[in-house]
Structures are given as C-alpha cells and as structure tokens.
Amino acid sequence: MISQFFVLSQRGDNIVFRDYRGEVAKGSAEIFFRKVKFWKEDGQEEAPPVFNVDGVNYFHVKVVGLLFVATTRVNVSPSLVLELLQRIARVIKDYLGVLSEDSLRKNFVLVYELLDEVIDFGYVQTTSTEVLKSYVFNEPIVVDAARLQPLGPAAIFMQGSKRMPGTAVTKSVVANEPGGRKREEIFVDIIEKISVTFSSSGYILTSEIDGTIQMKSYLTGNPEIRLALNEDLSIGRGGGSVYDYRSSSGAGPVILDDCNFHESVRLDSFDMDRTLALVPPDGEFPVMNYRMTQEFKPPFHINCLIEEAGHLKAEVILKVRAEFPSNITANTVVVQMPLPKYTTRASFELEPGAVGQRTDFKEANKKLEWGLKKIVGGSEHTLRAKLTFSQESHANITKEAGPVSMTFTIPMYNASRLQVKYLQIAKKSSSYNPYRWVRYVTQANSYVARI
C-alpha cells in the first residue's frame, strides 16, 4: 500500500505528483529530493533505493535520469514497491513511445490518467498496458525520438546498425502510424549482459551471463506465439560445482543455471521441445530472464602492463583483442583504468592510423579513459600512456593502479549461444505475414581485468 507517487526531474521539479491516501505531508517531494541529493550516511554519497525519514519510507528508482518515487508509512514489501515503480515507468513508456522528461511534461495529463487506473487508494490495480488501454483516453503527444535518450535495453538497437528499424522501439502502443494503419510487427530481443573478472595472470576468475528475452508486439488481435529455443538447452546445474571451466567452449549444450518467465508464458511443451507458448500482451515485457555461469568465450582479451620508467615516470601499455568473428563489430567501447593517486600528467600514444579513438586523463579521479567507436572482430588495439608522478611511489606500482574495466555493446552476438530457433505466429489468414524481428546483443555488465 503506497501513499504517494511522484516523478521528479534531475533538478528536483515535480513532473507528476499523485497523492493516494493523504497520509504523508505534501512536502515529501522536497524532503526526498534534499535527502537524495545531499546523501551522506555511512560516508557514502549515494542514497539507497529505500530509506526512512521521520517514519515515512521513500522508495525510488532512476529511469532515464528521472526519479520515480513512492512513499508510504506502512511496512510494505520493498521489492513489490520497487518492481511497481519500474513497471509504471514501463507502462508510461509503452504509451508515450519514448520516456523522457520532455515527453512526460508534454503528456502529463495522460500520465495522470494512467496513474488513476494503476493505483487506487494506494493499492495496485493493474500494470498491464493491455488492460489499461480500455480505460485511458488521452492520445499521446509524440516527441521527437531521435534527439532523446531512449529507455531500456532494447534501445541499444537504435545505435548505428542500419539493419534494424530503430525507431520502431520508440513507437507508442496506442498511437497510430501517420498513414492511419498500424504496421503488423513483433520484436524479440535477446539481450545479454556479461560479467567477467580476469586475474592478473589473465585467467578467468568469475564469469556470468545475465540474459533476458524481451518482446514487444504490435500485432493486432493478439495471436498466439511460439518461441523455440535451442533443443539441447538444459536448466539447473545438478551436482557439480557452480563454477566449472573444464568443458570446452564453442560447442556442447547450453546450460542455464536458472531462469524465470513472464506471467503469460505457458510451459506445456517446454520440457519436451524447449518451446515457449504465449499470447503476448501489448507493450514491452521480458518473456524470460536467465542466468548462466557455464564457461563461455569472453569477447575481449585485455592485457595491461604498468611499469616504472625512470624517476617519477611510468608507462602503461593496454592491449585489447577482439575474440569474435570478423563479420561482427563491437561499438561504443570504453576502457578505463584508475592510475596511481599521485599521477599528475598522462600523455597518450595510439597505434599508427587509428581512427575513431579518443583518450583522456580524468584529472579529478585520476582515471585513464580510452574510447573506441568500433572494434572489428579479430582485431587488436594498443594504447601506450606515459605517466608523470608528483612523488616517489613507495610500494608496488601495480597495487596503486587498476583494475582495468571495459564497457561495450556487440550487436548480433550472444555469448551464451542461446538462440530463438523460430518464432511462429498463429495464422489468421494465409496473407497474414507480419514482420518478425529477432535480434541479439551482448553488453558488458562488469568486465574487469586485474593487474
């Protein structure tokens, strides 16, 4: 049971504010914002998602820089409220196509209309875009998607690659196309976030893939859909150790540690032929989340060397090698490395003929940053940096720097080898042939090499 819901901009302005029960004073938004902005507890500067001020519990999630907040005086389930906040953001995004401060401000009446139906007197009624459609009458005012930072993991498809109908993911589920007719299409995205930690000697300490199969359907009449996954897919790692790197990579069955499914998914034939059946509701939703610790081939190999090079000087050599096929390209790659605290200057030397690369020494937090627009599969890139120190280093210099961390996005690549073998739509007529998009992408979650 929640008392109030509000959305604040980055500057702390109320964009929408709904009081459901009148139990919490009106000034709560300011109290909340001040607390979050100047959070200083346990020597930390980041407020946890849930905290209590004078008997009022504040919950918040950050979505595209906006703060979605709920308050209550009751000892409720925190995961229920946080899940709800996230879901409200998703419903709003389904309606507006794009979730941003601008689109919210333009459509706040529609948002109020949604909020009235989602929660009544603090109790959740529904968060289904499908159900809400029949209660909500405002037409969304569409904002220009191109300029805005999009929401959600599927948004990465908007970058670069021309094969994908980028703007489709920013289409409202209720708005009609300019032509008046809706395009029949369905998107299935396999999004994987990978975490790998390499030891200083280069072997893998831990690795995990957190994946989700995301669906967004624009099909009219809600036909049933069947998604077939790898036939040799197995779930649950019986008996053996959780971390087992003996099996060779690149072949063999895909073994998931565990997974969960969306409400609408029926698993009648899952045990038999690894097929998920569902009638997709409107809007974007995860069909399945999964987690895998089975060994996989990490897409990048990182090599880092730091050594002293004379009095008050040191040199860093960073090498990144792409271990995936050459028809695949990673983009928006950033490599970061904390340098010793007493570093005053860093001069960089890129390999000859390097394009689309940038280097930076972040003075404030003593960090080296190396950005690469693109890395083609199979290629290797090197960065050399000469460091100048303000004082003698006492201890082992490798203890003062690192670890190297990396972020990237690799479209049309998935580390787990989990696949959607086919996507079957129950036919309404022989001429009915909607567009189907099955897309893969891998992103770095925590990709770290120790030195």
Partner: protein
C-alpha cells in the same frame, strides 16, 4: 462565443508565477463555461491542462473551484477525468465548494457507460469531506452490485475510502459484510483482491475495539478462505498474488500434508519474473516449514537459484531489494550458501549499499574450504580506489580471521596490509591486529614485529591510534622502543584531540611501567601529570585513580591495571538473536532492508495490514475472569512463536553464538567482553537447567543457582505481590513493546502439572491464587501461550511474563519483562515456584 477564448489561448504560455495567471485562467474558464460552440471542448482541454500543470508544480489553483465545476458539464471523458482529478485534489480544503460537485458526480454514477459510472464513483469517494458522506452510501451500495466488474472494483476501494472518512457510516451501512460476501463470491479476481485489502484494513482497525472484528480478521486466515484463494491464485494479477501470498504466510496448517500441498501448489510461483511474487512465495515456504527442520533446509536450497536470478536480472534497485533478503537468509544459514560464495563477489560498478551487503555475506559463508579464495578476493578490494569499500574489506578479512580455524595465512595477509602504506589501510589493519591478538595471543611475536615498524606519526585515526597504543602497552616487553614511543606520545599530549586515545595512553604507560620501570618512569610521571590536568572528566579521573592506587601500593596497582589476561573467545554480537528472529518473521518487508524490526521505524498503526506479533488485541482479555479464554485455534493461527519447537529455538540461538555474524567492537574496553561472557553464561545455563528437568519443583533452586549468580539467596525474603493488581490490556501491550526482556528461561512443568493441565483455565486460576494474573491466553494442545502480569505489593512496579507451555515435553519457556529490572530474577523465582506447584494439591 468561442472566439475570445481562442485568441487568449494563442497568447504565449507565460511562465507560471502566480496570481495573475490564475485569475487569467479564471476569466477564460468562465467564458467557456456556458458555451456550446463547436470545438469548445478542445479549448477547455487546453485550459484544464494548464490548471492541472499549475497544480502539479504546487501553485494553488483552488480559487478556480467554482469555474472548474461549471465547466465540468460535458460528455468529453478526457475533460471529465481532468476535472475529477482537480476536484479530488482540492475538495478537502474547500468542503463547501465540494458540495457543488456532488450533483454532477451523483448523476454520473448512473450513467449508462460503466466507465463513467466507475470514474464518478471513484471521484465521489475521493473527496475526503466528512459532511458529504451521506451522499456516498447510495452510490456505493449500487456500485457494489453493479453488473460491470470495473464499477465493482472501484466501489470496493470506495468502501475503504468511506471507512477512512467516517467509520460509523461505513459500518452502519453494513459494507464490511457485503465486502466479505463479494470476496467469497465475485467472479472477478480484482474485486476479490480489493475486498481482501479493504477488509484487512478495516478489520485490523476495528479489532482493537470489537471482538467481532477481531474474529472476522482471524477468519481471513482460516482454512476455507485460504484454500479458496489459493485455488484461484493463478487467476489473480501478479500484484494481487502478492497480497494473497502475504495472507497465506500467516496461515498455520494443522497437518504436514497440508504444508506440502500448499508448497506444491505454489512451486511454480518461484519461477515468476516478478520478484515481489517470488519473495512472497518464499515467505510462505519459510513460514510453513518453520517447525519442520529438514524441510526448512530444503527450502533454502530450493530458493537459492531463483533468488540469485532475481538479483542479477532487473534494475539495480530491484536487485538490491532481493539481495537484502538473500542477505538475511545467508546470515541465518551460512553453511547452506558456502559453495555459492562467488556470487557474493563485488562488481566494480556496484553501489556501496550493494557491496556492503555482499561483503557481509562473504564474511558469513567463509569456511575451511573457501576461505583462501574469499580472503584473496577481499584483499583485491582492499587495494581498491573505493576507500569505504577498501575499509570494509579489511574489516571483513579481520572478521574471517576471528571466526576461522586456520588463521595462519590470514594473519600474513593482515600484516601485508600494514605494509601497503596507505593510511586508511594501515588504520583498519591496526584495529584488526589488536582484536586478533586479544583472541589469539599466540600470534603476538609475528604481529609485534610488524607493528613495531609502524611509525605512530603515520597513524592519525583515533581508533587505529588507540589500537597501536594498546599494543605498545600490552607487549612493551617485546617491543624494544615501546617506552620511548609512548614517551614521545605523552610529550605531545596537548595535541591529542581524542579522549579515547588519551585514556589508552594512560593505561599503556602504566602497563609499560610495570614491565620496564626504569625506562618508563619519566613518561609515567608526565602522563599522570598531564592526565590529572586534563579537561576531560574521564581522563582526569583515570589519571587520578592511577596516581592514588600507585601511591597506595604498586603491586596492587599492577594487579588492577595489568592482570594476566584471558583470550577473548567470542566478541559480543551487535544484534540480539531475538531481534534477528523478529526481522526474519517480518521477511519480505522493509524490516529486512533496514535490518531492524518494524517497531523500530514504524508507528503501530502502520506496521502493515497483517502485523500480529506482540499484539494482544486478538488474544482474549482474561484480566478479570480467568474463564474468559479465547478459542484455541485463533491464537494458534496468529502466533508463530507458539509452533516453534524447543529444539528449533535452541538452534537459532546456537547459530548466533558461534560467532559467525558478529561485528567486532572497535574499542578495547573490557566491558564488551564482559557483556558477551555473561550473555554466554546465561544462555548456556538453559540447556543445563533443562537437563535437571525430571523433578521440576526441586529443579528451580538449581536453576537459580546455576544461571543467575546475581540472584538473591534462597533464604532472602520473598518478593511480595499484590493480589489486587490491575493493568489494562493496552497498557500491557505498550509496556510489553517498550521493555527489554529481563529474563528468558526455560523450566519444567511437573508431571502432576501436566496432568492437571486439562484446560488453560485451570492454570489461570492457580496462578491467580499466587497473585499472578493472566491478561491473555490461547493455544491448542500441546502448545499453550499465556501472557501474565503481576505487581509488587505496595508499589506500582509491574512484571510482565510471556509463558509458552508445551504439555508434551513438559517444558515452559518464560520471558520476563519488568519495570524494575533488578528484581526480575526474584520475581522469576516466585513465578516458577507458583508454576511448579500447579497440579500439586
């Protein structure tokens, strides 16, 4: 008619600053109010939007109330909705104007479009104006009977809104029983869910005054209702499923078959993508199996994978909520998670609050087989750029060392920290080395060699400095320079700002003096002089005390200040096991995230729709007449404690004692050690006294002698209790909540007592004859629970007792709380002797 509005609309939207805009809007609204021109709805929409946007940013637009209402005569549903929103926001502050809206809202409640009916009814109930409630009853009554489920959904919540505006109107209209009927019969699950929410709130509020309401509330967790809801669980929305599951977690099945049926039914809920559903299911599983130790463990194994999946899917905020729950499970049963330690490794980009939880989990799960890897990982964090996490990591290494079997390797790591030459690393490591030496004095040689190399000038943090000084004093015979380092520290007395450090310095110089008198004499003189002149009271007093005791007799002084030490075996736990159990009982709530039981952060009326713990309102009031005892099943259902078996309790206590999850105190003052030792004694005494069980009436004196050295000798005059004690239930409840447990013991009931235990009433009469009065009781064979109270004769000092009697094991567990703690053990004697005479003619 329309044109003027048009032209004004096109005037550029100025910055909303206040009055002029509002009066401008007022004018425009007025012009539009009576208009029937085409397109007028569009103009109204624009104006309404403006009004609402002002409202959102906090500009007071309540002065437009009249105009807004005038404009609301429209068939445009978007306009209507905006108008409802506005009216709902301002009706409370404008009760007179709100009356204006009643008319059109009531009319809309009879609209042929169910959507309009529902919306109007919702707005009508949201006005929150007490003198308008009479207008609500009719529309609500028909709303509850509406053929359209949307209207019924709205009407059910409307009843709850009405209850909050006017309790009597709601109750007099008999709405709660209509809701009850709907809950059990409506075809729409959202109607059912809303009925459940509303009834929980209404009956919980009523329960304190109405016997019937509390019975109704109990009935919600009765078998028929629970089964009815469980059988339909998949029809409910995911949110309503959480509601139902929360209710099921309160249900206490009578047979173990039932437990397994429920768990099998809910098994697939663990695979739900919504974390709230999964956690609610886990709570059911955990609560159901509390009394089945083996199954309870299997549940832990079963829920591991789904929890880990939830932690790694979803937003950081969601995974934090799940991780907090995983944390509490790991802390309760670390051995079950010891092979999953890699999941608790920190990722560099995680926020502090996540890393902190993970570090605690890593510390808890460390055992013989994984310690090496965990400590290696923690050492990586210690060198991290994230300083607070580096500190926490070093502390974690220290804690593992203190709970470990093979400390050897860890000590080496800690000593390496000291050589890293980062001031915060050195500081944390010094504190740890000090704690380590208190537990493992045999390591002193290795440690002292390294500590001796640390320049006290590089140590600034008071806690670290205090630790270093303590070591200098304690091991001055092994550290060549100790007297001289201490001397230089004494010389800089005035620059030392921390009183804690100065106190330690005094003691250390004293200790050093006893070991190496000639070298320390000067320093001691200077220290005592500086200490006596110190402005800080404690420092002054300690210096004076040392000075006088030295004057009196040096060997006595040595005996006092530097006696032979015993190694500390267990450091005091920061959280009592009672509190931990309470938090566990409140699984899937904020208590878990805050790591505090709800009474510490929430007012009573907000503890959640179904918070029963230590509420007595639902137990029958047996103050005056002992025969007035509530039916057994009710109480049993709402008190989980009752079903905890004795062995279970022992086990939880045991696990918190073995030191797996304590936080080491940083101060080296001996009080914390003493506290932990007394606590241990008390707890150890329990099983011992249980062992003396067979002759219960004799066993009591034994128990006192064993467990409570401070208790008055048996010969001392017995505590006199007032036979006419009075305490009303709410006062009892309040006291029970506020007072700490003074005594918690287990004793035996004589075989005669068990035989006489035909009904709880018999015991109540017996106790009353000993001036111990029952305030509430309940239970069913073999478990009975009683709350007693007593008052000291001629004084208003109260004793409160919770007594759980198990007739099959002939054991009674008692918890005593007292206004005057010092007499609680004396009272315990009286209570137990009274209890022991039960059944003996």
């Amino acid at each position: 008619m329309a044109p003027p509005a048009q032209s004004q609309r096109s005037s550029s939207p100025s910055q909303p600053s206040g009055k002029s805009e509002v009066s401008d809007l007022k004018l425009q609204l007025r012009q539009l109010a009576g208009s029937r021109a085409p397109g007028v709805d569009d103009s109204k929409r624009e104006l309404f939007k403006k009004v609402i946007s002002y409202m959102t940013i906090g500009i007071d637009v309540s002065s437009l109330f009249g105009e807004m209402v005038m404009c609301s005569a429209t068939s445009d549903i978007v306009l209507k909705k905006m108008c409802y929103l506005y009216v709902g926001n301002y009706a409370k502050v404008n009760p007179d104007l709100a009356l204006l809206t009643i008319n059109f809202l009531q009319r809309d409640c009879h609209d042929e479009d169910p959507m309009i009916r529902g919306l109007a009814l919702r707005s009508l109930c949201s006005l929150r104006v007490a003198n308008l409630v009479e207008y609500l009853v009719g529309p609500l009554g028909s709303g509850l009977k509406d053929s359209n489920s949307y209207v019924r959904i709205v009407a059910v919540i409307g009843v709850l809104k009405l209850y909050h505006i006017s309790v009597s109107t709601c109750v007099d209209a008999d709405f709660p029983s209509i809701l009850k009927h709907l809950m059990l019969n409506d075809s729409d699950t959202q109607v059912v869910a809303n009925c459940l929410s509303a009834l929980q709130e209404i009956w919980s509020a009523e329960a304190s005054t109405s016997e019937e309401a509390s019975r109704e509330r109990e009935a919600l967790i009765s078998k028929p209702v629970i089964y009815y809801l469980l059988n339909r669980i998949k029809e409910f929305s995911e949110w309503a499923q959480c509601l139902v599951l929360e209710l099921v977690a309160k249900y206490m099945p009578l047979e173990s078959d039932e437990i397994f049926d429920i768990m099998n039914l809910l098994e697939d809920r663990l695979q739900h993508a919504n974390g709230a559903v999964v956690l609610a299911t886990i709570k059911v599983f955990l609560q159901l199996t509390l009394s089945l130790t083996d199954v309870h463990q299997q549940v832990y194994e079963r829920i591991k994978a789904p929890l880990l999946t939830l932690v790694s899917s979803g937003s950081p905020e969601q995974s934090y909520a799940v991780l907090s729950h995983l944390h509490i499970l790991v802390m309760r049963a670390p051995y079950i998670f010891s092979s999953d330690y890699k999941h608790f490794y920190c990722q560099y980009n995680e926020p502090y609050y996540v890393k902190r939880l993970k570090l605690e989990m890593l510390t808890a799960v460390a055992n013989e087989s994984n310690t090496y890897e965990i400590v290696t990982e923690l050492c990586e964090y210690a060198a991290n750029v994230d300083i607070p996490i580096a500190r926490e990591s070093i502390r974690a290494v220290g804690k593992i060392a203190l709970q470990q079997y093979d400390v050897n390797a860890i000590v080496d790591r800690l000593l390496q920290f000291l050589e890293m030459e980062k001031d915060y690393v050195t500081a944390e490591a010094l504190v740890l080395v000090k704690d380590l030496l208190r537990k493992y004095p045999q390591w002193s040689h290795d440690c002292i060699a390294v500590v001796g190399n640390i320049s006290s000038k590089n140590v600034q943090e008071p806690k670290a400095k205090a630790a270093l000084i303590w070591m200098l004093g304690e091991y001055s015979q092994d550290m060549q320079d100790a007297p001289y380092i201490l001397e230089s520290l004494v010389e800089n007395w005035d620059e030392e700002h921390s009183a804690e450090v100065r106190l330690h310095l005094l003691t250390a110089v004293m200790k050093c003096f006893f070991k190496r008198p000639p070298e320390t004499q000067n320093a001691l003189g200077a220290a005592l002089a500086a200490g006596i002149a110190d402005f800080h009271q404690d420092v002054h007093d300690r210096a004076l005390f040392y000075y006088r005791i030295l004057q009196y007799n040096v060997s006595v002084a040595e005996h006092v200040v530097n006696p032979p030490k015993q190694a500390v075996s267990v450091f005091a736990d920061t959280q009592s096991s009672e509190i931990k159990d309470r938090i566990f009982d409140e699984f899937n709530s904020l208590s878990v995230v805050y790591q505090k039981p709800s009474y510490m952060f929430t007012d009573k009326e907000h503890r959640g729709p179904f918070e029963f713990s230590d509420e007595l309102g639902n137990l029958s009031i047996g103050g005056e007449a002992a025969d007035n005892v509530v039916s057994a099943q009710r109480v049993e259902a709402n008190d989980k404690d009752l079903l905890l078996t004795t062995s279970e309790k022992e086990e939880t206590r045991g696990s918190s004692n073995n030191g797996t999850d304590y936080t080491a105190p940083y101060d080296s003052s001996s009080t914390s050690v003493f506290a932990s030792q007394t606590r241990m004694e008390l707890e150890i005494s329990n099983p011992t006294s249980a062992g003396h069980a067979p002759q219960a009436s004799l066993g009591i004196d034994d128990l006192l002698g064993l467990g409570l050295p401070a208790a008055p000798a048996p010969s001392s005059p017995q505590l006199k209790l007032s036979s006419k004690a009075v305490l009303d239930p709410s006062a009892f409840q309040q006291k029970w909540r506020q007072l700490p447990v003074a005594l918690s013991q287990e004793c035996s009931v004589s075989p005669q007592g068990v035989a006489a235990f035909t009904s709880p009433q018999a015991l109540l009469r017996h106790m009353q004859s000993h001036s111990i009065h029952c305030i509430a009781s309940g239970g069913q064979s073999p478990n009975f629970k009683f709350f007693f109270f007593a008052q000291k004769a001629e004084e208003t000092s109260n004793y409160l007792v919770e007594c759980v009697i198990n007739t099959s094991s002939a054991k009674a567990q008692i918890k005593i709380k007292a206004d005057d703690q010092s007499t609680s053990s004396a009272f315990s004697t009286v209570f137990q002797s009274a209890l022991s005479r039960f059944g003996i003619p």
